[in-house]
């Protein structure tokens, strides 16, 4: 069909373009590892099944385990053509152990579904109680998880632990975990739930990837810490739970504070309260002292001193007014006296006049009619008086 002679480079480029399509990017491939080798920090191996084999390379791997030949795995990566060598290979980005391809797909699908529904949303995460009185642990009664939790709790902050014994793997485990979460939510005496188990294979942890468990966690009124497996294992339960702990021990540490820290804080609090009270008392003492130093207390006489002065002043004023009044009246009297004196008929005697009285009744003799001839008249002059007798009367 193509009447053309290609160069090697051209035809390889052509093949590369066909192979490196979208649908071969970010794919999961299940198979068995063979021909594994490590070189300069990278992994090289083949992934095979009964039908075929595919070259794989993983650069700077950060896995929690070292892959081995014969290991059944699912790997995630992109198909790329290596032009220089003329072959295609899978550039691996992640490897999951176990012949669990179907389960893993289910995990991814459920994770995507629940994420879309918002079950993992931060806004639904409930805060943990600061100091729970009772925590409930949903786990196997025989597993290491409950022992680890008990150890951490009794060391850090001993409280009551309610164990809801469940199977954590195998048939019916998810139902038991779901039922336990629901039953605990009916109780009044539980503050926090830890669900979990120790590490295990992908299949062992499966119960914690089931939808019913995820929904029970989401609907829980009580806050839940999920602690499933080891550091690197993530389950659906971890995503839905209010907090995810890498191990059951870590969950216990998250659940309770350290008793020693609180004891220290209490010691501190007692001292702080005492200092606060002392400060208060001292501030009142200072106020008292200021008040005691006020004039009223230091020199109480001074308070009435002004009044005394005022009273004395008033008395002085009063006396002065009275004195003035008396003096004024005195002057009036003097004046009147002087006026009267000036008007006194005797005064005229000084100027050479005389006054006459009848001797018989000592009445003023001021008219010829007042006395008869022969009657005695007293004539008063400035320096004495003379007794006279009327000889003759002539009327003007």
């Amino acid at each position: 069909m193509l009447r053309k002679i290609f160069t090697v480079g051209e035809i390889t480029r052509y093949i590369k373009e066909i192979i490196e399509r979208e649908e071969l990017n970010n794919i999961w491939v299940e198979g068995e590892i063979s021909n594994f080798r490590e070189a300069i920090g990278n992994y090289y191996f083949d992934l095979k099944d009964e039908m075929a084999i595919i070259r794989c390379v993983m650069f700077s791997p950060s896995l929690q385990f070292t892959p081995k030949n014969g290991m059944k795995v699912i790997v995630k990566g992109d198909i790329r053509v290596y032009e220089k060598k003329g072959y295609y290979q899978l550039y691996v980005r992640d490897i999951k152990v176990g012949g669990v391809g179907e389960l893993f797909i289910k995990f991814l699908e459920l994770k995507e579904k629940l994420q879309k529904e918002g079950l993992f949303d931060e806004k639904f995460k409930k805060p943990l109680p600061r100091i729970p009185s009772t925590i409930a642990v949903v786990t196997s009664p025989d597993g290491a998880a409950i022992r680890d939790i008990q150890n951490v709790i009794s060391r850090r902050f001993p409280i009551r632990i309610l164990l809801a014994p469940v199977r954590v793997q195998g048939e019916g485990a998810a139902e038991e975990i779901e039922r336990a979460i629901k039953a605990l939510n009916e109780r009044e005496d539980v503050d926090l739930i830890i669900i979990g188990r120790g590490g295990g294979s992908w299949e062992d942890l499966w119960a914690f990837n089931e939808e019913r468990v995820a929904r029970a966690i989401f609907e829980s009124r009580l806050p839940i810490i999920s602690a499933v497996g080891h550091e690197t294992d993530f389950t659906i339960a971890d995503f839905v739970a209010d907090k995810r702990a890498p191990t059951p021990s870590a969950a216990a540490e998250m659940a309770v504070p350290d008793r020693r820290e609180i004891l220290e804080w209490l010691d501190n609090a007692a001292g702080r309260m005492e200092r606060a009270v002392m400060k208060k008392v001292e501030s009142y003492e200072a106020i008292m002292e200021r008040i005691a130093k006020r004039k009223a207390f230091m020199y109480p006489f001074e308070l009435i001193y002004d009044k005394i002065i005022g009273y004395e002043n008033m008395m002085e004023e009063f006396k002065r007014v009275i004195k003035n009044y008396i003096e004024a009246r005195q002057r009036d009297i003097d004046f009147i006296e002087r006026s009267l004196e000036a008007m006194s008929p005797y005064k005229v005697l000084e100027r050479g006049y005389s006054i006459c009285f009848r001797v018989r009744d000592n009445k003023l003799f001021s008219s010829v009619e007042d006395a008869d001839i022969g009657e005695e008249i007293k004539v008063v002059v400035k320096d004495g008086e003379a007794l006279c007798r009327i000889e003759e009367k002539k009327k003007k």
Partner: protein, 68 residues
């Protein structure tokens, strides 16, 4: 935890929170002398309760069976 007397009925977390509030209030210094004294007394009481609770605390595991 064994409950002895009414004081022990106080939840530890509530007692601790109340105590924190009291310490803050006292340190603000805005209370009257009477309030200061009564808060201080309550604080000392809460301190004692918290300490006793902490010292008495023992981990006890109870296994649920009926409900499950």
């Amino acid at each position: 935890m064994q409950d002895r007397g009414e004081e022990k009925e106080v939840k530890f977390e509530e007692a601790l929170q109340k105590l924190e509030e009291i310490v803050d209030e006292l340190e603000k210094g805005e209370l009257s002398l009477e309030e200061t004294i009564s808060k201080f007394e309550e604080g000392v009481r809460l301190c004692r309760i918290c300490r006793e609770k902490l010292e008495e605390a023992k981990t006890k595991i109870e296994k649920l069976t009926d409900e499950l």
